[in-house]
């Protein structure tokens, strides 16, 4: 059998964008630097050569205004894709996104709609600091009328991106910067991954671990460690944060009786609280122990790696928490940790992999 085609996450996004621009003549992509020689970390590279400046657009640094402009275009027949290099900048556009885009279809009685994708990037590490590495997905998941997507694989990134462009609603599509170099199987041509469906990526019976975006990679790493210790976790990649596929999660927790959720955002009032609440409301009598969440502490992001080292939760935290939930003795947990974490120690904690050299 021929080896399956592998693409980087960035390439998957680019290919999806390319296909959408080709198939939907009313679609266009706009964002600061989108047509520039670096092409949004490579995700929009050279699309301008193929589709021209009228469909692959740079823009002034006017986040709220351009969002409103995209809404106006969407209301009159276009399908805009608006790209922001950091989710921090979207705070400038929250007015148009929340006050207008999210509510338009509802407040005008279903008469018109806004097919628009706002693609943006969250991240961590390498000294981006408080204003350049926020994980603000929770703000968006609270707003009725928005859909919020956070893929974790190149396959899903492509399929969900295409679904987002095809969808008739405003979509917040969030990439995690640390996924950009990962590779995976990506079919050629157009395909859709359904919005609103979580994915069970490992079947198991001891505990349900649901996660978003990059944290799914951490859950897989943790799973590999605990598997060896005889623990059998069920892993769920949430993929669509809103509307949340709670059915899949609930079904799993009814089976396993234990639940943990991993999210890259802040803990208090974060997306993880919503998932836990949904689970508790629906599986209370099945729960063997209190659900747990692993998120960022309620602290702005420090710049120095002297502190980010302790700021970001990692595989170790997951393993520890799972084993505690399974009532392991603390000495046994310690020995698993020290055994399994040796290798990890050599990778600096502020880069996704050893090829990464900054400055972004």
């Amino acid at each position: 059998m021929a080896k399956k085609r592998e693409l980087k996450y960035t390439e998957a996004i680019k290919e999806a964008t390319d296909l959408c621009l080709k198939e939907y003549p009313t679609s266009f992509i706009i964002g600061p630097g989108v047509p520039d020689p670096k092409g949004t970390f490579g995700t929009t590279l050279k699309l301008v050569d193929k589709y021209g400046q009228d469909r692959v657009l740079d823009m002034p640094l006017s986040e709220n205004g351009i969002t409103g402009i995209c809404i106006g275009a969407a209301l009159t027949g276009m399908r805009p894709i608006l790209v922001h290099q950091r989710i921090d900048f979207t705070l400038l556009a929250l007015d148009e996104i929340v006050n207008n885009a999210a509510k338009w279809h509802y407040m005008f009685g279903g008469i018109s709609s806004i097919p628009m994708v706002v693609r943006t990037i969250i991240g961590r590490g390498w000294g981006q600091g408080s204003q350049h590495s926020q994980n603000l997905q929770a703000l968006y998941t609270h707003i009725p009328g928005l859909k919020v997507i956070m893929p974790s694989t190149p396959y899903d990134a492509k399929g969900l991106f295409i679904s987002s462009v095809v969808d008739n609603n405003p979509i917040i599509f969030i990439d995690h910067r640390w996924l950009y170099n990962i590779t995976g199987y990506v079919p050629e041509g157009t395909y859709q991954v359904p919005i609103g469906k979580a994915k069970i990526i490992r079947k198991g019976s001891d505990i349900t671990i649901a996660s978003t975006s990059y944290m799914t990679l951490e859950s897989i790493k943790a799973s590999k460690i605990i598997e060896k210790e005889g623990v059998d976790p069920e892993l769920i990649d949430i993929r669509t944060l809103k509307p949340l596929d709670s059915d899949t999660i609930i079904k799993s927790v009814r089976k396993t009786g234990r639940f943990m959720v991993l999210d890259s955002g802040w803990k208090s009032g974060g997306f993880a609280s919503e998932v836990i609440t949904k689970v508790v409301e629906n599986t209370f009598t099945n729960l063997k122990t209190s659900p747990q969440r692993i998120c960022l502490p309620d602290i702005p992001t420090p710049t120095t790696r002297g502190l980010t080292r302790y700021y970001y939760p990692n595989t170790k935290d997951i393993v520890q928490t799972v084993l505690k939930m399974l009532e392991w003795k603390s000495n046994d947990i310690k020995s698993v940790i020290s055994k399994s974490m040796k290798r990890e120690k050599n990778i600096p904690w502020d880069i996704p992999d050893l090829t990464f050299t900054g400055p972004f």
Binding site: G68, I69, C70, I71, G72, E96, M107, F108
Partner: protein, 321 residues
């Protein structure tokens, strides 16, 4: 200007005025349960501008939107039913006075967040350009919207891309009870647009002929030269900022000021003008008035008799299919 246009200008203004007066009359019944921002005194701007538009042209508006909606040809029934919160309203009752829409005449939408629809008009113009349509985009907003950053972001982009959009600032000197002098430096609002390299003019907004002429010239220019234009019209709101009553008692504007502006009533002035120049007869005026009052009574009746959206509509339309 031909007679048809002149009659149409009068008709538009009269319709707007009558509708607003009808709301004044009915609002105290406490059955229209939503804020209303009446435009009595400001009718000439909407009428004079929209008279130059085709059905294909897009219009966007703000919280004070009744005039724009009616001048563009929006359905009076849809407006009144919307104010009453009925399912037959232009937004199925979900919007109220501040969220009007009538896609049959390309009135794309009015919303009350200041400045919110200004970029949308620019986006609609971009969309027309991308789709090779020939229509233009118009947005109405007040003097306070100019203070919002998004106004400038929109003008910058329209200017950069030379988009066919007409910006209409209705400068009525106040934002709620706050005068312009507490909010902006002492310079013409129209001069702001020049900073964005947009052609910009200021005109008396209570003289419908002047409004019409300037709008006509500007719209022709936009259609031909494919570039945005900014117009500032000086006008005045007679009633309270929100609601049906006068607000002389509040004391934030002087009686003299109000009276000065009431003398500049755009409707009376124009009617006098039409009659004195023998362009129309009193008979014709009466006929128009009569027809409009019937139209409005029908709309009231329609609105009152319509039902509220059924309970099962609550969850509908959060997402589009």
């Amino acid at each position: 200007m031909d007679k048809k246009t002149q009659l149409s200008l009068f008709q538009k203004m009269y319709l707007i005025r009558s509708m607003e007066e009808k709301i004044v009359e009915l609002y105290p019944e406490q059955e229209m349960r939503c804020p209303v921002h009446l435009c009595i005194g400001q009718e000439a701007v909407a009428a004079g501008v929209c008279e130059n538009l085709t059905k294909e042209d897009y219009v966007f508006s703000n919280h004070r939107s009744h005039a724009h909606y009616l001048a563009k040809g929006g359905d009076p029934k849809g407006l009144l039913a919307e104010l009453y919160g009925k399912v037959t309203g232009c937004s199925r009752g979900r919007g109220g006075s501040m969220h009007l829409i009538d896609l049959s005449v390309n009135f794309i939408g009015a919303t009350p967040i200041l400045g919110g629809t200004i970029p949308m008009a620019v986006g609609a113009a971009l969309s027309s350009k991308m789709q090779g349509k020939g229509n233009i985009s118009v947005v109405f907003f007040g003097d306070a919207a100019v203070e919002e950053g998004i106004f400038h972001e929109s003008l910058n982009y329209a200017s950069l891309r030379k988009l066919p959009v007409l910006f209409i600032c209705e400068n009525n000197l106040y934002s709620v009870q706050t005068p312009l002098s507490k909010r902006q430096p002492n310079r013409k609002i129209s001069s702001v647009a020049i900073g964005h390299s947009i052609k910009s003019y200021r005109e008396d907004g209570n003289n419908v002929v002047k409004v019409y002429d300037l709008a006509k010239k500007s719209i022709n220019k936009i259609r031909k030269a494919h570039e945005p234009i900014f117009l500032e019209f000086l006008t005045y709101r007679w009633r309270e900022h929100c609601g049906p009553y006068y607000d002389y008692n509040l004391g934030y504007r002087s009686k003299e000021e109000i009276e000065k502006w009431e003398k500049q009533c755009p409707l009376k002035k124009y009617k006098r003008n039409l009659l004195s120049k023998n362009i129309v007869t009193s008979k014709e005026i009466e006929q128009i008035s009569h027809n409009i009052s019937i139209e409005i009574e029908e709309a009231v009746d329609f609105a009152k008799k319509s039902s509220f959206p059924p309970r099962n509509e609550l969850e509908k339309f959060v997402y589009s299919e």
